[in-house]
Symmetry: C2
Subunit: 244 residues, 2 copies
């Protein structure tokens, strides 16, 4: 049995906030083996990873992309470019980017929703490191997943994925193990941390955005003593990418 | 609070089996508002959607693809081609296909794992229809999601997605609603049914494959009286596809 419970009682997170202390004070009952899933936005805010649009001077490239693709605001586009290692596609009002961390997502994860007025929120610096820091600061050292919502190439809607992980096996490699009929499994290699992020969003979605943290209970078999390889292990290397 | 519980006591599913009757007899406690997530494989088997490899004569195209891309078995490739509307990519031992239903996935969903000896399992015929049929045959008419594991273009591992849906809102469209700061959300359009499929897999994974069904409790806000648009609503139309 798996149980998911959104944490209530978390205040608005300000730059420099001690996120671990805020989470520890929120209404929950931490137990060993729990997984704490945190929306990336509160991590970014605590890190001060926001930018004021008025302070951004768009480059010629940002202005050109904005005009050519009918984007909304060249200063936002500049913020996206500053987070981007490679533009994968530019079309229909969105830039699909590979971020400097290696994530492929819309607008390099730069987001205006739930941002302070006139600001954008960036992805956290070193999300795996941020997950490790949160983990060690929380009682019972829960596994920690930092989540963001990503779109998909061939499906509508977004699903939450793991962009930072500590203390949880990000992948469950069952390739080559036998199935019940004794045959080799085709390609059963489960993105556990991404499924945990997606599950946690269900406990949050439909509510207002004041519930950025969810406790998941019942995943002890994936919770590890060490911090493990993190969400970096979920990134398909550029050389294996068939779609860029 | 959301709770996920794998159903035990489901026997091996044979062609022509009454899947609803088998699910009704399995060990669970159905309640109104529950979501029943079923692995596509038992649906396919009940529909007789398996093929014996020995009875397949590979076409010249199947033989050519097999040789050029180092694939394992031209008869399996023929089974894939027979389910395929369009080959999206062929590389590194895998065919990425758009199926006749419109799903983009590896090998058009044709699978050898947990298949009867010498057979492959195909995706179900009309998965949304199969979900609707299951729903109406079960007591308390739970929402039904039929799930399969899909890879992702830029991330390692697979996550379960919804290929058939009845009685559950597949998407939660929060685009344009205000967030807490009063700004417009960027693109918050949640693929609810895919997140439900992913969550359910966590309740199954790590166990043997004899647990193809999971009951999800606590998602009443997404459960609908009518069957709704089904998983078809999750497919990005070919004309909006940036990556084929």
């Amino acid at each position: 049995v798996i149980e998911l419970r959104a944490l209530s009682g978390l205040p608005e997170v300000e730059p420099g906030a001690d996120l671990a202390a805020l989470l520890a004070a929120a209404d929950h009952d931490p137990r060993p083996g729990d997984v704490l899933v945190v929306s990336h936005k509160v991590v970014s805010k605590a890190q001060g990873r926001t930018r004021e649009l008025a302070a951004i001077e768009p480059s010629a490239q940002a202005a050109e992309l904005t005009e050519r693709h009918g984007l909304a605001d060249a200063r936002q586009v500049q913020a996206v470019l500053d987070e981007t290692a490679e533009i994968v596609r530019a079309a229909r009002g969105v830039l699909i980017c590979r971020t400097r961390h290696g994530f492929v997502c819309a607008n390099a994860g730069v987001d205006t929703s739930n941002a302070p007025d006139g600001h954008v929120v960036l992805l956290p610096r070193d999300p795996d490191g941020a997950a490790r820091e949160l983990r060690v600061a929380l009682s019972h050292r829960p596994a920690v997943v930092i989540a963001d919502s990503f779109g998909r190439a061939w499906r509508h809607g977004q699903v939450d994925v793991a962009i930072g992980v500590a203390g949880l096996a990000p992948l469950d490699d069952r390739r080559g193990r036998s199935d019940r009929a004794g045959m080799t499994l085709r390609a059963t290699w489960i993105a556990v941390a991404d499924q945990v992020a997606a599950a946690a969003d269900l406990a949050r979605a439909g509510k207002d955005s004041g519930t950025p943290a969810v406790v998941v209970r019942g995943l002890q078999r994936y919770v590890t003593e060490s911090d493990g390889p993190g969400a970096a292990a979920l990134l398909r290397p550029r050389a294996e990418d068939l779609f860029t």
